[in-house]
Symmetry: C2
Subunit: 470 residues, 2 copies
């Protein structure tokens, strides 16, 4: 089959799945509007200046069939205090729907998720009703975003946006939260609007060259925009010229999207939208994987210390980066690493090393022999307790072989647990969790089979393939 034909066939199949049919549409809209009016009624008695509106993908008609994330925004006048609108919203929503149906959440702002029925939930989010870009909180822009898209999208563009969102979810780049560092729904919609459709977006990104600028505000020259905004991808928000809608997109997520686009356009397949699910591996299966694995995997498995996902992920990534730079500083060779959490009970940082043990001696390169600094080098190492061999000369330079701090990762991890410098800046609760962490090395990682989410995460990492190639 020609690529063109396959592409159309795949798109057709995906559209069949993601575009909601009339019955689902009616059911969802009815349910969400019902919830909105309940919330509104509740607030009217409290303060008639508070507005309650449906925003996001449901309002824009860009939500995916079977995958509704409704947004109900509670807009406060700017006379309220920033610290109170979250509390007021959460407390009122809990009273309205009952505690059992609500989950408090914190991303960059507090909000509450309400279960409306078996399949539909809605996030009730507080914001300020502001004018003229006088933003007071991170969510104040959302109503403007909704309005911008609603005005410009017809049914066809809505479905193109659905395709792109489903695709981005499939290849693992959807979501602006810290955990993913990817594309928000709004950004996906803006891209569809700018390029004209799903295929055109993929075309553009398959030959992506940074810096890549889209300025919806049309208020800068290219040079100005690129001076103000950093990063490989800059999309200036049409409703706020001071904001790069793509600022949350991390380099590696962007690259993942670019790579997937190239692969998809060469060989379109449903796999990109709906990747194969990875079943939780048994201990036996993990052991088999680890046996054939020609490197040294290591997992720091901890209890979670933080309920706000964005804060938790931020600290996990910080810890991951610290572990890596410390391992490399101490001479270990890090291949790659990844963090995981169920955002409830557990946290895991997995690191792959080329080897669990390194030679006890480290070859330290000194200055060229005829430089005056060569004397300092000799003085420093000639009588050092860390000296194993040398100093000696080679190819016109001084060298010394000095003892490493740790030549085995077990020893390294034992030391890190109580290293004040390493733990500095982390909250006390996190330090405690690190101190009580389970350090699993090599075959020991198979014990994660008991925690199915973490076992899937580990299996994915060991396989080392992007979602569409699993």
């Amino acid at each position: 089959m020609a690529v063109e034909e396959r592409f159309n066939k795949v798109i057709h199949k995906v559209l069949e799945r993601v575009v909601p049919r009339l019955d689902e549409r009616v059911r969802v809209l009815k349910k969400v509007e019902e919830a909105r009016s309940i919330v509104e009624r509740k607030f009217r008695t409290f303060d008639p200046n508070i507005r309650v509106s449906v925003e996001g993908s449901v309002a824009k008609d860009t939500w995916l069939s079977g995958d509704v994330d409704a947004d109900i925004f509670v807009s406060y006048p700017n006379t309220y205090d920033k610290s109170e609108i979250g509390k007021i919203t959460i407390s009122f929503v809990k009273k309205t729907f009952g505690k059992n149906r609500c989950i408090e959440r914190y991303a960059e702002h507090p909000y509450v998720t309400v279960r409306l029925d078996g399949t539909i939930s809605a996030d009730v989010v507080p914001c300020f009703r502001v004018m003229d870009n006088r933003w007071m909180s991170a969510t104040d822009r959302t109503p403007y975003h909704t309005a911008f898209i609603k005005e410009r999208f017809n049914e066809e563009l809505c479905n193109e946006a659905r395709l792109l969102k489903r695709y981005m979810k499939g290849v693992g780049v959807y979501g602006a939260e810290i955990k993913v560092g990817g594309f928000s729904g709004y950004l996906a919609e803006l891209l569809v609007y700018h390029f004209g459709g799903f295929r055109e977006v993929l075309n553009a990104f398959s030959s992506f060259k940074p810096p890549f600028l889209i300025d919806f505000s049309a208020s800068y020259t290219r040079e100005e925009a690129l001076t103000i905004f950093n990063g490989p991808l800059v999309v200036v928000d049409p409703t706020d010229r001071a904001r790069n809608v793509a600022s949350a997109v991390r380099d590696d997520t962007l690259w993942q999207f670019v790579m997937s686009s190239r692969d998809f356009l060469r060989a379109p397949s449903l796999r990109f939208f709906y990747p194969r699910e990875i079943s939780p591996p048994s201990k036996r299966e993990l052991l088999k994987l680890l046996r054939s694995f020609q490197m040294c995997p290591l997992v720091v498995f901890m209890k979670t210390w933080e309920r706000k996902p964005d804060i938790l992920w931020g600290q996990m990534y910080k810890l991951e980066r610290r572990l890596i730079s410390r391992l490399e500083f101490d001479g270990f060779e890090v291949v790659t690493s990844k963090s995981w959490s169920d955002e409830d009970k557990y946290v895991a940082i997995a690191i792959i090393l080329t080897s669990c043990a390194i030679p006890p001696g480290e070859l330290k390169r000194g200055p060229e022999i005829f430089r005056s600094s060569s004397n300092n080098f000799l003085d420093k190492y000639q009588h050092s307790t860390r000296r194993i061999y040398g100093p000696f000369t080679r190819d016109g330079r001084l060298y010394v072989l000095r003892k490493r701090k740790h030549s085995d990762v077990v020893h390294f991890l034992r030391a890190i647990k109580s290293d004040e410098e390493f733990l500095r800046g982390l909250p006390v609760s996190a330090r405690r969790c690190i101190r009580d962490a389970n350090f699993l090395i090599g075959f020991e990682c198979a014990s994660l089979a008991g925690i199915s989410g973490c076992a899937v995460f580990l299996k994915k990492l060991l396989l080392g393939k992007p979602p569409w190639k699993v």
Copy 2:
């Protein structure tokens, strides 16, 4: 004791040992002159235009007591062919003194060593009698060198030269032959002449800064001289302005001399002139040394393939460099290396690695992810049989973990034996010796205890100290 006092005491003791007493002087001069006149008489009947003269340290009175290396030069008119003067000299000398007392030698030119009595030997060396710097062979300059020093040296300077030569022998930097890559006797004398004495030479070299220029010819500006001659140390020959007397001095030998000077001036000791002898270690002693050695020593032990020392050492060093660059190319970490030969039966190349085994996978860094070359990298490694893991992204770059050719030095050495590319350019005889070589790794090196010279060499390398610190 103050440094000054110790210095004088040491110098005094060395002078007592190196300045020949009258009886030795008479005996040596008589014996050498006797040999010279015998040779001269023999040649007179063959060609009266051939001159025979005593040159070198005996002629200059800079030889060391108990350590005579007499030079008898046979000067041919320039009508002779370059290829025949060696053969004629050797054949005549053999006939004169008898085959049993002669050893044929080849450094940069052929010559013959004659045993005159139990303690005195003389090298009989052919050269051309040339005028006006029209050099025809490497040894033609020697008579001019002898004349230059004889004219300028008094008894005091002769003894200063003796001190410096003994010192250079002690710290292991004496000898311009390829094996040592150090200072010739003539160069030592020129340095004493230029700086005024032994101590002044050490003073100068203890604060050595390249490029260091002494132009006895006084015929260049500094810029001219440094453009014509390369290297950190340039000493323009007073008898030949086209020649750097120090051209044979290798960087590491020069540095060894510089380092020793600093150490000696800080704490003068007889050890620098007469280093502690290293006794051949027993197998047991070697094993003990190897057990506490925190690295991986490896020795390529071979039969010798070449009788001319300069050629042999040249090829050994070449082989040593090749082994090192090949090991490093394949991912092994080389600490240092050294070659040895008894210049008779055996040759050994010893290399110290931080570890005998390295991880099977090598982390290969690719281009930055947004460069267009990233596509080539993906195409190259995605389906490569050497791919172990990846390609994946990290810190904005592509990486892949690929299988190494060899992850164990045993495997490496097995492959090298029959690797045509590795052996290219080496003579057939050398290739044969390499193919039959004994590769000793780690504890296996203890088997060298049987070859006492090589065992001493290995012990020195494992101790890793300069001669004056052993």
